[in-house]
Symmetry: none
Subunit: 211 residues, 4 copies
């Protein structure tokens, strides 16, 4: 029975991740359960709340992104261009990476979640480390901040309704190549304005009144 239960949980996560990406974060939970092949009540047994489901997905995604950043930083010494490029692609490929910023601010309850907080701080640190190293190695222009790179990756990797599903991966590849080129030192004039930072969940949630 333990095995079945674990399988259910996995299926639910997989289904939720896919549907969140495909149809946005407000899919009917019933649709998630159906895609996972279980009843809606089973979903609720595993995740007492929509929040809980989102939380699990976000944690997973943060973990993967964290590992990718550390791996890339360690690889920079041997193959700077390759390691950097690989990181960008891996980050974009992580649906969870895409989902994280989409989902986190949506859920005020999660803002105070200490585990989430810790994981988030870790991944942000890891990416900052990596970007700093990449800048030292000449892969990345120095007037851009780590957060901005993450934001750009996420902007590109998020699904655009105008883009047919079957072309999504190809478009993401090509757009990321443009971004990586534009992020090279000397690829253009200095960026306007000052670096921008991501929202820290739990702080500025009040600026979306009525939501």
């Amino acid at each position: 029975m333990r095995t079945d239960a674990r399988r259910n949980r996995e299926e639910l996560l997989r289904a939720a991740r896919a549907l969140f990406v495909e149809r946005g974060a407000d899919v009917a939970l019933e649709a998630v359960a159906q895609r996972a092949g279980v009843s809606i009540a089973t979903l609720y047994r595993n995740f007492p709340d929509r929040s809980a489901l989102v939380r699990a997905i976000v944690l997973e995604g943060i973990g993967s992104m964290d590992r990718a950043a550390r791996r890339a930083r360690d690889g920079l010494a041997e193959d700077p261009a390759g390691a950097w490029r690989t990181f960008v692609e891996t980050a974009a490929g992580l649906q969870a990476g895409v989902l994280m910023p989409m989902l986190v601010p949506m859920l005020p309850d999660l803002a105070t979640d200490p585990e989430l907080r810790r994981a988030r701080d870790a991944v942000v640190d890891a990416v900052r480390d990596l970007v700093a190293a990449a800048q030292r190695r000449g892969q990345v222009r120095s007037d851009v901040a780590a957060d901005e790179i993450l934001l750009l990756i996420m902007a590109i990797a998020r699904p655009l309704p105008a883009l047919p599903q079957e072309h999504v991966p190809e478009f993401i590849d090509r757009a990321l190549a443009v971004a990586v080129a534009g992020l090279r030192p000397g690829s253009g004039p200095a960026l306007p304005g000052r670096p921008v930072a991501m929202r820290v969940p739990g702080e500025e949630c009040a600026d979306r009144p009525g939501e």
Copy 2:
């Protein structure tokens, strides 16, 4: 009272545009009405349908984008870099331009609307013209398609939940600068794969089943 009515209509459009951008095209219409300072029934008097509201916004946006593309093409002779950069920024600044592809495929009723169809074809042609001219003038690498540039602009200009509202314009400026740099000829290795085209509304709507 004719004046008041027109003001209401304007307010409704403004509110809808803002909310569609901020929260996606499925905001509660009640929220739109509230933001415009009128009752929900007044919204329905002006726009008999959610479709009608979206349609009005999309048409507006398509028109603005069309004008921007024509203006830019005419300006390329005098100041290639400036005209191109201005177009990119104007396009990104047009929330409506951003909304067009976001909204059109979302509403099957609009797919067959002939006026919308015509306006869309016109803007796509105008942008293709512009991009071809910009490529001849050396502003844009030649292995990228016009559609992809629009998609990239849209990806960047769409609000990311992880980005605090007050930093949105600054981030968009900076990310676009990166994109424009990456789009320069010679800014990096050839793009992988083949150019990607936008969805033509009314054709592939079936690939988002259940939505």
Copy 3:
């Protein structure tokens, strides 16, 4: 101006009568105004209330039925069968006759209306007179009450959704012929039970709770 106003009132009544018959007594008042070629506000100037509109139609119909009953009674001496048959057909032809029972119980406010009360009493008396005379003349079996005859006519003349519009008059003619035949003295065994009376508006309205 007085002329225009009167014309508006007439048009409104005509439109309301037609639409009540065609689509039931709960048509949108806006549809009535539109059919009459005036604005909804004009309808409300003429009839402060849905009740007022119904009241006017009912009064008109009652008057016509009253005249038909008196005319028939006076004609019985000369041509009993013809006068009786003509009354039945005239009553069925009066949309007002059809509408009266449909509309009256629907409007508790009208129950206490003295003018309506008076008109109603008059028409009931006239029909009772007529039926009594017809029974004396051998046109109508004696175990049936005047109210029942009115009810039967109304039941037959009311539009049945299953009957295509274009066959309505023919069906009514044929069904009334069956009814007239069945109402002849000696056409069949005695009727079961005891005669039934129509609802007197304002008395038993409480038996349709929740409406």
Copy 4:
């Protein structure tokens, strides 16, 4: 809990049938749910649509009418008058039989439903058989069509607002007795015009524009 659910479904059907008869097919579904003692959402769980509810009632009713017609035809040999009279009364007593023609043309979705179509064709055939047999046995005049008899029964059995609820059964009995008498061979002069047919659902729905 399977038991409770079935009970709910039954209650919903019972409530809907009663309310459709009493107040027409456009009652608030909320009222149906309330009468059945369940929440509106439960109604929707059982019947995804107003159509589905109507469909269930209509199918039930068609089935009962079909059985009554077959039984009556088989009984004609032994007791022609009794079997015929019993059929007429049973048909009138079947609120569902009454509802069938009332409801079907009202819902375009149902017009093309094949199961409904088949059931309808079956009952119409059965009634035509029965009427033909009754005409051969001398119970029914030969210048009337089966459809017209059904229409007449329905016209009589539908509730008239002018008739107090408690007198409805008695009135129906008496009016049907009049009708049966009028339908006897030789009960009166030939019917005017030509026989009329019921609307075949799905064909002439267009003649009620705007409804």
